[in-house]
Assembly symmetry: C2
Homo-oligomer: 470 residues x 2
């Protein structure tokens, strides 16, 4: 599946870039984590500077060769792999990994787009600060990709998503010019929000080469609790109560169902079950508080008030860092347990918080009407973001339901849309959800998106086929 590219373009590229920037088309550039697509490419370059990246984009623009910005390759919706059309040039950020500067008193750092998330975490920590964005793929995901997809994760409730954590960008625009927008400013009302537009555009409007990231002070003390709730509606009230008590101190608020504990017991018995009897619904609450407050005490007070308000019936408050890690390991092991069971269909959706309980109820009815399935619904309740996964009944496998996958997906997404939610909360559109975007997006927004794409990338070279149909 390797097209023959215009040889003149490859010659120009070789002549214009230093040898170190030219890469072999290694297989890993053409794969993605879920194995749904096999990409192709005419060349891979790894520029060392924004100027080198700009040279590559300009040559591609002149030759009409598609460009795919390539970060850590961890995206789940195929934004990083082109599997049809002319073979693209992959521009990998792997050599642009510098921490350009860090400003602890400003709560700011400036990093290149190839920096790996966990390295950014370490650099912030070494400066006594926190970079709060955190996702499972933090050991390989790169800042440029995290921004291009507006990544989320477990701390969005408190700190926002990737867009909220970025003050400025340096990017190569589709015409090959560099936008020097690395502003370390908290207030800047000089023109349109090009920063916010490029963030989340999945490489279709430009190539991010560096970013100004917002850091946060490290909380003085942290604590974690598991609390058994009567259901999703009670969990939502508990969240509101927690925020009344602790304000922004609530860092994560994760909803879980008994199905998760059952799957863990079945597939990962080494994960310690927190409750003697597995509850129907429970939440994990993580807090990071200011000096003078004891997190465990604050969680005790919250639990007592919640008990009085009949929102909770049982609770466990971590008494040590080891216990905090144990509670978190329950939550963090759920995706692996799900993988071992094997879902028929999985969905990354968000809803207005007030609609979450109703969605879970109606979702159960909708799925039951389609057959005998198990549902494991869990996620970032504080953000209204549910991972809503549908599994075969015991004794059956996902292969038994292969033909029902589309119907399940459609039923779940239709319900989400009807309840004014989003069919892509965190992962983006990529190539996987182009049809969903066309089906569910507001028509005026789609018109505006297409107009913006055509205006900024008139030759359509930037990641064609991602987000918008070619």
């Amino acid at each position: 599946m390797t097209d023959t590219p215009p040889s003149a373009f490859l010659e120009q590229l070789t002549a214009a870039l230093p040898a170190a920037a030219l890469r072999d088309i290694a297989p890993h550039y053409l794969e993605e984590p879920r194995g749904r697509w096999q990409g192709h490419a005419c060349a891979v370059v790894a520029p060392d500077t924004a100027e080198q990246a700009a040279v590559a984009v300009r040559l591609a623009a002149d030759a009409g060769v598609p460009v795919i910005p390539y970060g850590g390759g961890t995206g789940l919706v195929g934004g990083q792999v082109a599997d049809c059309g002319a073979a693209p040039l992959l521009i990998s950020l792997e050599r642009m990994t510098r921490l350009r500067s860090i400003h602890p008193d400003e709560n700011v750092m400036v990093v290149e787009a190839g920096a790996i998330l966990s390295d950014v975490h370490d650099a912030a920590q070494a400066a006594g600060r926190l970079f709060p964005l955190s996702i499972a793929a933090k050991g390989s995901a790169r800042i440029g990709g995290l921004l291009a997809t507006n990544a989320g994760g477990v701390n969005v409730l408190r700190y926002g998503n990737a867009r909220d954590l970025c003050l400025g960008l340096e990017a190569v625009m589709p015409d090959g010019n560099i936008w020097h927008g690395l502003k370390r400013l908290r207030k800047d009302n000089t023109g349109y929000d090009l920063r916010g537009l490029l963030i989340g555009s999945e490489g279709t409007l430009g190539l991010i080469t560096a970013a100004v990231l917002k850091l946060a002070p490290r909380p003085a003390g942290e604590g974690t609790a598991l609390m058994v709730v009567d259901g999703p509606a009670a969990a939502l009230k508990l969240l509101a109560l927690a925020r009344d008590h602790m304000g922004e101190g609530v860092s994560a608020f994760e909803l879980m169902h008994r199905q998760s504990l059952d799957f863990l017991a079945e597939t990962m018995p080494q994960v310690r079950q927190p409750f003697a009897a597995r509850p129907e619904w429970f939440v994990l609450i993580d807090v990071g508080l200011a000096r003078g407050l004891d997190p465990a005490e604050a969680l005790e007070t919250l639990f007592a008030d919640a008990l009085e308000a009949e929102l909770v019936s049982d609770g466990l408050i971590a008494q040590s860092e080891a216990q905090r890690a144990e509670f978190w390991s329950v939550r963090e092991s759920v995706p692996e347990a799900n993988r071992l069971i094997g879902s028929v269909s999985s969905h990354d959706v968000s809803l207005p918080l007030g609609a979450v309980a109703g969605f879970i109820e109606k979702g159960g009815e909708v799925i039951a009407a389609l057959g005998d399935f198990r549902i494991n619904c869990f996620g970032h309740l504080g953000d209204g973001n549910l991972h809503y996964n549908v599994f075969p009944a015991p004794g059956r496998s996902r292969a038994d339901h292969a033909g029902q996958r589309e119907a399940i997906k459609r039923a779940v997404h239709d319900l989400v849309h009807e309840m004014r939610g989003s069919v892509s909360a965190e992962h983006g559109i990529g190539r996987l959800k182009v049809d969903d975007l066309e089906r569910y997006a507001d028509p005026a927004k789609l018109v505006a998106m297409r107009a913006i794409k055509a205006a900024l990338d008139p030759r359509g070279i930037m990641n064609p086929g991602a987000v918008l149909r070619i």
Copy 2:
């Protein structure tokens, strides 16, 4: 200065809209607070619904008549008044003031764009919540205008600016279609960030008719202190220390100079001077803390640590709500004192926090080289946002320096730009700073902005002449 409009357009407008939507061209629609521009208009309409607004925009688009979205009329850069070109249609949001819904458990409210900011504050408070955006003009500014200009104010440090406080929009696009984007979602990665793009575009890309606003929990306890610092650099270190102690609990951090106290003593002797001897530099710190913390005690602890670190030399911690109000009245009276003295030139600038002290030092040298002036520099240090105002020496008036105004503005803005700051932190570009934007903006950003404007508003009807030159 009233042009004769195409009479067919006015006839169509009259036929298409209910009588209650048709307004006289009252003088106040054509004026702005600083009296720099006198606008003109061919008609004023006040739609009651987004659909009526859409009808008006579509008719204007067909007739090629410019459209000016009109909120509270409080903007300081002339974004709301067209003073040349074809006489525009003003679309006033004054009748779209409904609170469509409020969701305290979600920390969300949905309001129409004509809602006045102080009414939004009241509605949030009645629901036990806080809408944190606050500016001096809160009694007349409307939500649509606040969003269109990405308003800032004193609480940006903690809660962000208008863009950060909005989850979704309903807007009439330049082609007269309505974008139904009133999503109450914290995570939604389905396509480009049209919300962020319209916010801050000053009515040049569409007309905002309603918005989903983020609310915050009300802090359990609040406190205020004034602390004398060695200078801006020490103030910045004090801010970092305060955030180490209290995290997000620091709501406002305002830098003030002795010049403010001198001006207050001269023009507003009724404002109580907080210090026996007026200090060179001091800060106002406002905190809002979670349950279990006493704000006055937390400020005492901060002061003790700061004293040990030699960042502060004196301090006053409010012991009552009355004293908090007294401290705030010092800060809030400064703009009026400035007005009574009469500035030669005033500037709304922002800088990287680490550059603030250097800017203040160099700014003093730059101004001194231009003549004998007094500088009153104060502002939202936590955001790097300074109000940098230049006054005549005692015994002289602003009129004596009328010819120097442009040179002062240019010198201040050149210095801000050189230090990687912004020449419009809060107020926007409007018609006042179109030249500044062209002079200081990154060329690639300007190219992108013009392309976006042409793509979304190909006929150029939306607020022509604001932000971008026609």
